[in-house]
Symmetry: D2
Subunit: 304 residues, 4 copies
Amino acid sequence: MQNFQPIINDIVNETKRQKDKGKVASYIPELSNIDPNKFGICILDTNGIEYSAGDSNEQFSIQSISKVMSLSMAFSMIGEGLWKRVGVEPSGDPFNHLSLLEMENGIPRNPLINAGAIVISDILISNLKNPKSDFLKYVQGIANDSSISYDEKVAASEKRTGFRNYAAAYLIKSFGNLKNDVETVLDFYFHACSIRMSCKQLVKVFYIFMNRGNCLQNDNYLKLPQVKRINAIMLTCGFYDEAGEFAFEVGLPGKSGVGGGIVALLPNKFCVSTWSPGLNRKGNSKLGMLALEKLTTDTGLSIF
Amino acid sequence: MQNFQPIINDIVNETKRQKDKGKVASYIPELSNIDPNKFGICILDTNGIEYSAGDSNEQFSIQSISKVMSLSMAFSMIGEGLWKRVGVEPSGDPFNHLSLLEMENGIPRNPLINAGAIVISDILISNLKNPKSDFLKYVQGIANDSSISYDEKVAASEKRTGFRNYAAAYLIKSFGNLKNDVETVLDFYFHACSIRMSCKQLVKVFYIFMNRGNCLQNDNYLKLPQVKRINAIMLTCGFYDEAGEFAFEVGLPGKSGVGGGIVALLPNKFCVSTWSPGLNRKGNSKLGMLALEKLTTDTGLSIF
Amino acid sequence: MQNFQPIINDIVNETKRQKDKGKVASYIPELSNIDPNKFGICILDTNGIEYSAGDSNEQFSIQSISKVMSLSMAFSMIGEGLWKRVGVEPSGDPFNHLSLLEMENGIPRNPLINAGAIVISDILISNLKNPKSDFLKYVQGIANDSSISYDEKVAASEKRTGFRNYAAAYLIKSFGNLKNDVETVLDFYFHACSIRMSCKQLVKVFYIFMNRGNCLQNDNYLKLPQVKRINAIMLTCGFYDEAGEFAFEVGLPGKSGVGGGIVALLPNKFCVSTWSPGLNRKGNSKLGMLALEKLTTDTGLSIF
Amino acid sequence: MQNFQPIINDIVNETKRQKDKGKVASYIPELSNIDPNKFGICILDTNGIEYSAGDSNEQFSIQSISKVMSLSMAFSMIGEGLWKRVGVEPSGDPFNHLSLLEMENGIPRNPLINAGAIVISDILISNLKNPKSDFLKYVQGIANDSSISYDEKVAASEKRTGFRNYAAAYLIKSFGNLKNDVETVLDFYFHACSIRMSCKQLVKVFYIFMNRGNCLQNDNYLKLPQVKRINAIMLTCGFYDEAGEFAFEVGLPGKSGVGGGIVALLPNKFCVSTWSPGLNRKGNSKLGMLALEKLTTDTGLSIF
């Protein structure tokens, strides 16, 4: 594998030159108070060599990136039966996510949109003894890092303002596609989104999707076909309404969160994470997107 | 005014001959247990003369018919400001009522769909000291009949199963168009829907819309322009996705409920109510629709 | 009947005081060149007495008002079978008229939206020997006025720019709900819309809907139930996405056109037309709407 | 590279055992008359070694597969400006493709749905001297095979019945996103879809997307970033509403057509085409999908 340090140093320099750093998410105080000048990046290659620059040790709220981890845990527990409860197609439509649910009888289009992750949360609750602590242990285990934790303040804020998620959950419930009650499911969901990690921790978790299901310590978490499926879903559905654009510009499976984190990977090669809190119009980290475009353009590394 | 007794006797006979009486609502036990052979009809003319036949004294769950009464009370209390919170256009689209909310930024299309009545409930809660008892007294007052009451069992059942209404309420809340919390608003809404009345009681309440805002005891409840507006809304929006069909076949402003009740009126002439629990495909009482069609066809009385 | 002259004089004075006269339709030169200060009004009562003021003798392009006349002719020719080809429900959704067609398998929601009038045109073509001249004679006959004519320039302009109507027609055709070819159907449709009439001529044509199907010369054109149905459709569907608003503010069945004309009626009482080329945001004549609101408010005449 | 012959022999045997071969497209006679038992497969690896089995020499109507070729030609001619006229996001919504156009002001979601390919056709017409013959020569050139030709009968049949494509084209035209007239654009579009090729010819054409823009004869047709972008679009949008499913099950960029053809590729490794006329519920070749699933599962070759 190549030495990624020069390119990520370049990227950090380029992001510093950018005047428009996007707009920090403002719907809860815990997110809106973040310094918009933060930028971190970390690459972990298949041999376990780590390259990093900027604020790569600072933890941030991973938000929707957690959807890949809950999908991973649920998929490894119940297998293919999962696809009876949630689809694998891109959501396509930028707005109207509730109307899509209505048209499709309460089966969310895919597990990486809010509605889909709510169903995945319901599956985990039905299959775990202590859902919230079991899930956190699962994530800590993959990263081999017990400092990863929920942010109770963020979870509480999301709960107070997450009316749209309540609407989605009740709509799914009206179609019979939630087995547990809405409050329990959303409590889990909001906690999962509140997990804090740094860029360095994120690449360790996503190492399993790059490395055929095995983490750095070589424990197996997913079968190879499962890994491929999760990667396919990340590629087609991982960036809200910008999934096509990301596949087009970057060409790697990945996932973003409104906390400003992005993580992406090239199977059997490397895993990369970025963090910059300012978002573009579509809700993805502005500088993170630029960084990943530059990375794949300059190195020529992409799945295509 | 003419003698309506012969025509309503005819109607009762004709409904008895009908083999297909529609399908009784089954989503809560309190509605599904009703005898599908029940049929009542009552006409109250502008002079206060009452004509009735069949099970016109038996109380049933008025359900969505209550939406006209809560609209009436809210409109009389806050006036034209009400139309900033809810529209006056037919909903048009048979399904996707939530997606319409999304496209229109949380302003329900009209006050007679569930989403609209939820907003009206919110307005009443903000303006009444004891919302549930004040609203019941308002209805009892118009009818001059203190035997009208909530059905607590029905309200509780609706609450247990009304996930779609929860979804609508949270979606409206997400747009900032609910001031009170969702539980309080829906508790009021489910109670209003649970009110029990007979055909004879219903025509007394709707007498105010036929008689320029004045009830039988001659107390004034609404100004004339307000009455006209409520009648216009009933005509264009009173029958779910069958509003156009009802205006077309019957030609009277009115409102139906899934409990099998229908009430309609010809301004300055008469008010009519029917009750038959079996519903057609669109959720309106099957025999009630037939009865009103026959009434207006045989008498030639309609607003057109 | 009352003397309407004072009220219509008042209305003309009030419209003169209005500074914002709306925006003249600009998509074809023939419409955009009209003087925005024109205003005409005419009332014809059930006894045949005519009251008029302003530019009530000047002919203008009636545009969508023609949809009521083609509906009337088709309905009188093929009767109830017409409702298999077109619905009677308000379109509700302000935009997406094509998507509604898709969801409803090519059956337009009602005969007064473009898609519905295109189907009505197809029906007339299938049932008339010389469709365009027969239809014009029908309109001339009702008004007893052979000076009513097509405006060939307007029809040609509409054809050159009417891509959206072509899209609707081909979509309907794809569902099998057009029997004739698209070019023929749209040629008829664009001609019907291009008819020129004055306010005075318009009330004579719509007299049949006010007078139980009989024109001023007492010839019968429609059966009473047919008249009632057309009036019901005008009330619920006659004003694009402002139908509910119009029923709510004015309370009369009617129809508007982008040429700035509006015609409305109170059954068995009177028929009224206005013309003012400036349109409001919803595509209805701004001053015409004001005039009709004032008329019904000041006289207290409405169907509600 | 590995020897693909054994696996494709296995695949042919397995397809022979399948009883349900899907449903042959029936909307035009030229497609409906094809023998449903036909099955061909061909693999061309990066070294130019060809493996084939079954009816791999028989030509069939490539239909929507042509959309990738017209995209390729237009992209190489006008570059990034192309993305102002058409998007790169999956269409998501299974039905309502016209309503999506309406919401997005006439910019089709991506170049591989009909609406998008119609815009691409318009671009080619504006940029080619003899659009139809120049495009055919372009395809023949890549494949180094002048026997590739249009099927005039198929083109004529599509024209006679393609009302939905007319609707889409006129809708796009109404938004100003077609520069040429609809008849000219659709004549080109229907011809492109009518191209006939065999499995062996198809892999030669798609070799350029697998081989960094260079064909077997080593002529360059596209720059590397352009190839990557087209591959990304094929992966996210190449299989109608089954794109997510295909990425998920097969994990290769590709494109299908209603004629029963599918072509897919693993960058820098191989290109594969299948042909079996029976379609699944989503409009993709049933046995072709099975074949490609088996190929990637058994070989472990995929982009993920």
